[in-house]
Structure formats: structure tokens, C-alpha cells
């Protein structure tokens, strides 16, 4: 029946009208996974018991007049988000033996809303990477081109949604890890405002930037998932702000969209630029005002990011010590060696690189020059956005400078990979919400590769952001 190809909205309607059962929906997804995932490798683990859960939901559903938001919807979860009783590796060897001892708040929430979790998806190790090639368990392939990366670090999530191996996914974004793979795989990805969604149960990478968010086939689907996971949480002191129901401009009021001139300089693929500009034209013809703005500190976002994030990483990954959980080296004689060898054997190269960088930058004598300076520049970057949002309602541009690149093409030099996030990191530094949505395709090497349009909104105004995005989805109409 290919029910796995439905959107969440369609599946909800179909289940309500009893056109099919949850069991049939889940079965179709699991069949698709069996058929395609040995090639794609989007999943690290598939939960066969999802079939039994589906059966239970079907029995419950008989009496439910108004089923909850995600009732019976098969979803995938990125492997850095804890599902109690299940392995959570964060894409790393050091957590290969680890079984989660509790549910993340977002998991509690989606379970309460009746979602069926199909399994855990592949990712760059500890969310460090933009291609999923840093996974200790092998890369994921892009469904649009099997020799291409799906993006990262939520590459498995994006590929699973794009290939209809689930109806929606939960991922995480610290510097673009939801939006960039969404762009590469032609799906919708939302990074909420910092504080909109609880991080309790998310294996921490950079605690002042991390956010959990949805990947889905449509903007409407992304909204359904976001509504299910958002909200204050006593387990996460930074998730307190209740999401404001933000007023959007009606069609008679002119929507003002700012296009940062800094986003259209060197490094942007001309084919990607064409598609983005064509999308702007359609949006302008529909009545929006598109104007050029400036984010003067835009070019300092990447260097600031690559000081702040490794610093936070070096602190957050200190807990992986071969003692509390996870992998322990078999060959240590002293306590120091337990640490030194477990971490040496358990961590991959990019993780070691960032821990080392962070340790250096935070060490005595260097803190002021690097870390403190970066946090000041971060304040300036945030201020750029505050100033811009006084003039415009939305900021827009390409999500990534290129379409999906080939596997192995960016792995020789770490800096080359970092540049893939040039349009996404500033958003995390400022804490604002942003969404990537498909804007078209470029043809490269005989393959049609998706191009993502990034829409950036004001703090805690995801409702407005999603509403505009849904409207643009109709206008751009791929």
C-alpha cells in the first residue's frame, strides 16, 4: 500500500477515517526500511517491536474520538536522543555499549502523543560534522544520489524522511545539523529558538547552542511535530519560555523579508543562487517586500563558532571516562590510563580534534584571547540580528552554499567541512529559530540534487515562521 509515502497530516486523516490501521502504516515503513536501508544506512537500529506497539495503539484507537497529535505516526529518532532501554550511541564507539536509563523529555512527549518510534538514526559522532561521514558506524547515503552525503550531523534523520523510511524525524541542531541535511535531502527541517524545546535527554554537544527539532516532508508536518515537543521543562532550566502565539501579517500587510548581502558573496554555488533568487521572485510577486540588509559581523560567525563550540564540547565530553558508562579500554594499568586509553580508543578523529581545540582555548593564558573574544563577537552577531529584525519580519537566504557534495570530497581538510555551515552557525550563536525548506533542484552529474531555502525568524516566534514557510511552500511549489 506504500503508506510510508504519506505525510503526517495525510496519515492522521487516513487513520481517523479508518482507511488503514496503525499496524499497516508501521508495517509499510518497516518493509521500506528492509528494502532500502541496507543501501542508505539511515538507521543504526530498527525496533521490530514497533509492530506490536502499533497493534496496541489500534486497539486503543477504537475508542478515541480525538486522537492526540502524533497518534500512530511512525517516527525516527536521532541516536543522540535517549529512548529508555534502548542503545544510544551518539554515533560513537565510546557509547556503543550504552543503554539509555531514561527517556528524553521530547521522547516522553512524543510517546504521550501516541507516536511509534521505528528506530534510531545515524549521525556524525557526537553531532560533530556536516556529512554523517564522522559516524563510527559508517556513513549514510543521500537518497537523491547514492555517492553523495546526506549532510550532517542529522544525516540519518534527513535521509530517512526523504526516502519515506518514516513519516517524521526528531534531530538536533547546534550549527546547522538539522537544516543542512534537510537542505541536502530535500526535506523540511526546523531549528527552534534556543529554549523552545527541552534538551533533557539530548546527549550534549555545546549546551548554549544545542536544540532538538523536527525533520519532515512538509512544513505542516514539521509544525505538528514541533507542537508536540515544544514547551517548558523542569528538567531543563533553559527551556522555560512558553512559545508565544505570534501574530503573522495578513495578506494586506506587507511582509518584509531581509536578504543579507553577506550571504551572496564568494563561495555560493551559482546554480544554488539562481534557485534561491527565483524563489525570492515568486515570493515578491505574491506581495512580499524583499530588501537587502546587512549583517556586518556575518563572516565572523564561523570563527566564533569554532572557538565556542569546541570549548563547550571539551567540557561536555569529559564525562566519557571509561568508568560511568560506555566503552572502557581493556588495557589500562592506572586510573590515568583508564581515561587516556578509553578516550583514545573510543573517540573518532573529529571529536578528538574539537576536544583538543577546546581544551587549548580554555587553558590558562589563552582564555581571554580566544574564548572571551569569541563570546563578545557572539554578542555582536546577536545584535546584528536584533537590529535587522527592527526593519524586517523575516530573514532569508540559501541554507547551504552548495548542493550535497560527494562522499569523501571534504574529508581531507577539516576546515573545508566547516565551511559547509557558513549560513547556519550564526543562527545558533544568536539563538534564533530557522527553518530550511526545499526550493528547487540543481542537476549535477546526472542527478537532481535538492537546494534548501533558509528562513530565519525572531526569537520565540516559530508560529509566524512556520506560517510564512507554509505559505511560501505553496508559492514556490516544486
Amino acid at each position: 500500500m506504500n503508506l510510508n509515502k504519506l505525510t503526517i497530516k495525510e496519515a492522521r486523516a487516513g487513520l481517523k477515517e479508518k482507511k488503514f490501521s496503525v499496524r499497516e502504516l508501521v508495517d509499510d515503513c518497516l518493509t521500506a526500511i528492509k528494502e532500502k536501508d541496507s543501501t542508505l544506512h539511515a538507521y543504526l537500529e530498527v525496533f521490530e517491536e514497533a509492530r506490536k506497539e502499533a497493534g496496541i495503539l489500534d486497539k486503543m484507537g477504537q475508542d478515541l474520538r480525538d486522537p492526540p497529535l502524533l497518534f500512530g505516526i511512525p517516527m525516527s529518532v536521532k541516536d543522540n536522543i535517549l529512548v529508555e532501554g534502548k542503545r544510544s550511541t551518539a554515533g560513537s564507539k565510546i557509547l556503543a555499549p550504552y543503554t539509555a536509563s531514561y527517556d528524553a523529555t521530547v521522547i516522553r512527549k512524543i510517546k504521550k502523543q501516541g507516536a511509534v518510534i521505528l528506530g534510531k538514526t545515524n549521525m556524525d559522532e557526537f553531532a560533530m560534522g556536516s556529512s554523517t561521514e564522522n559516524s563510527a558506524f559508517g556513513p549514510t547515503k543521500n537518497p537523491h544520489g547514492l555517492n553523495r552525503v546526506p549532510g550532517g550531523s542529522s544525516g540519518g534523520s534527513a535521509a530517512a524522511v526523504a526516502a519515506d523510511l518514516c513519516l517524521g524525524a526528531i534531530g538536533s541542531d547546534t550549527g546547522g545539523s538539522i537544516r543542512q541535511p534537510a537542505s541536502f535531502c530535500g526535506v523540511v527541517g526546523l531549528k527552534p529558538t534556543y529554549g523552545s524545546v527541552s534538551r533533557h535527554g539530548l546527549i550534549a554537544m555545546a549546551s548554549s547552542l544545542d536544540q532538538i527539532g523536527p525533520l519532515a516532508k512538509t512544513v505542516a508536518d514539521a509544525r505538528i511535530i514541533f507542537d508536540a515537543i515544544k514547551g517548558a521543562d523542569n528538567f531543563d532550566a533553559t527551556a522555560k519560555q512558553e512559545n508565544e502565539s505570534s501574530a503573522t501579517k495578513s495578506h494586506s500587510q506587507k511582509l518584509r523579508i531581509g536578504i543579507p548581502k553577506e550571504y551572496f558573496g564568494q563561495g555560493l554555488d551559482p546554480e544554488v543562487e539562481k534557485i534561491i533568487k527565483s524563489a525570492f521572485k515568486k515570493i515578491e510577486n505574491a506581495g512580499a517586500i524583499i530588501e537587502e540588509i546587512s549583517l556586518p559581523h556575518a563572516k565572523y560567525a564561523l570563527p566564533a563558532y569554532y572557538i565556542i563550540v569546541p570549548s563547550e564540547v571539551s567540557a561536555n565530553l569529559a564525562r566519557f571516562d571509561g568508568i560511568r558508562y560506555g566503552f572502557k579500554t581493556p588495557t589500562a594499568d592506572t586510573l590515568f590510563e583508564v581515561y587516556g586509553k578509553s578516550r583514545a580508543e573510543g573517540f573518532g578523529p573529529e571529536v578528538k580534534r574539537r576536544i583538543m581545540l577546546g581544551t587549548y582555548v580554555l587553558s590558562a593564558g589563552y582564555y581571554d584571547a580566544y574564548y572571551l573574544k569569541a563570546q563578545k563577537v557572539r554578542a555582536l552577531i546577536k545584535k546584528d540580528f536584533e537590529e535587522a529584525f527592527k526593519k524586517v519580519d523575516l530573514i532569508a537566504g540559501p541554507t547551504t552554499p552548495t548542493p550535497a557534495f560527494s562522499l569523501g570530497s571534504h574529508t581531507a581538510n577539516p576546515l573545508e567541512m566547516y565551511l559547509a555551515d557558513i549560513y547556519t552557525v550564526a543562527i545558533n550563536l544568536a539563538g534564533i529559530p530557522a527553518l530550511s525548506m526545499p526550493a528547487g533542484n540543481v542537476t549535477d552529474d546526472g542527478k537532481k540534487l535538492p537546494v534548501g531555502l533558509q528562513l530565519i525568524g525572531k526569537w520565540f516566534q516559530e508560529d509566524a515562521l512556520l506560517e510564512y514557510a507554509e505559505y511560501f511552500e505553496k508559492i514556490i511549489e516544486i
Partner: protein, 98 residues
């Protein structure tokens, strides 16, 4: 900014990661390149700018000093099970002092 082999070894010790000779040379090169890249921040005049201290400007987010989790049954066992070496209800560690 160039980082020396001695500095790489010092950082590795601070970070508690044993590196091979090959890794030390590799990091000497890679870390130097990344540090040169991030030094672009020297161009920014940030005099008088208050540094950000986190991801949010909220402060003093308080809650009741009471147990939050209503479902703690068996959780202790889960946590213990995760540790590589345990003994009864204890996680085993090598001697801290020689």
C-alpha cells in the same frame, strides 16, 4: 598561530586522551590551521562589548526543591547497568592515589 608539539602533548594530557606519535604530528598541523582561521576574530573591535555567557539571557530559573521524577522505580539499576565494571551497588574505579 602555530602550535608546538610540546603544546599538543600538554593539551592531550589535560584532555586525558592518549595520542599516538602520528596523531600528535597530525594535530600539530590541523590545530595550527584552525587556530589561524579563528584568529580572524582579531579584526573585530569588541571594546566595551559584554560577552555572552550562554544561549539565553534568562537568569535564576528556579523550581521547587522537590523530587521531580515520579517514576524512579528501577532507575538506579539502569544507571548501574550502564557502568563497565560494578560491584554490588558500586561503580568500580582504579585507585586514585598510588
Amino acid at each position: 598561530m602555530s602550535i608546538s608539539k610540546k603544546e599538543v602533548m600538554h593539551i592531550a594530557r589535560l584532555a586525558r586522551i592518549e595520542l599516538t606519535e602520528e596523531e600528535i604530528s597530525k594535530f600539530e598541523k590541523e590545530l595550527s590551521e584552525i587556530l589561524t582561521f579563528v584568529e580572524e576574530l582579531n579584526e573585530v573591535d569588541a571594546k566595551g562589548v559584554k560577552p555572552m555567557t550562554g544561549g539565553t539571557s534568562f537568569a535564576n530559573m528556579m523550581r521547587q526543591d522537590a523530587t521531580l521524577d515520579d517514576n524512579l522505580e528501577g532507575k538506579q539499576a539502569n544507571i548501574l547497568r550502564a557502568a563497565p565494571i560494578t560491584k554490588n551497588e558500586w561503580v568500580e574505579v582504579k585507585a586514585v592515589f598510588e
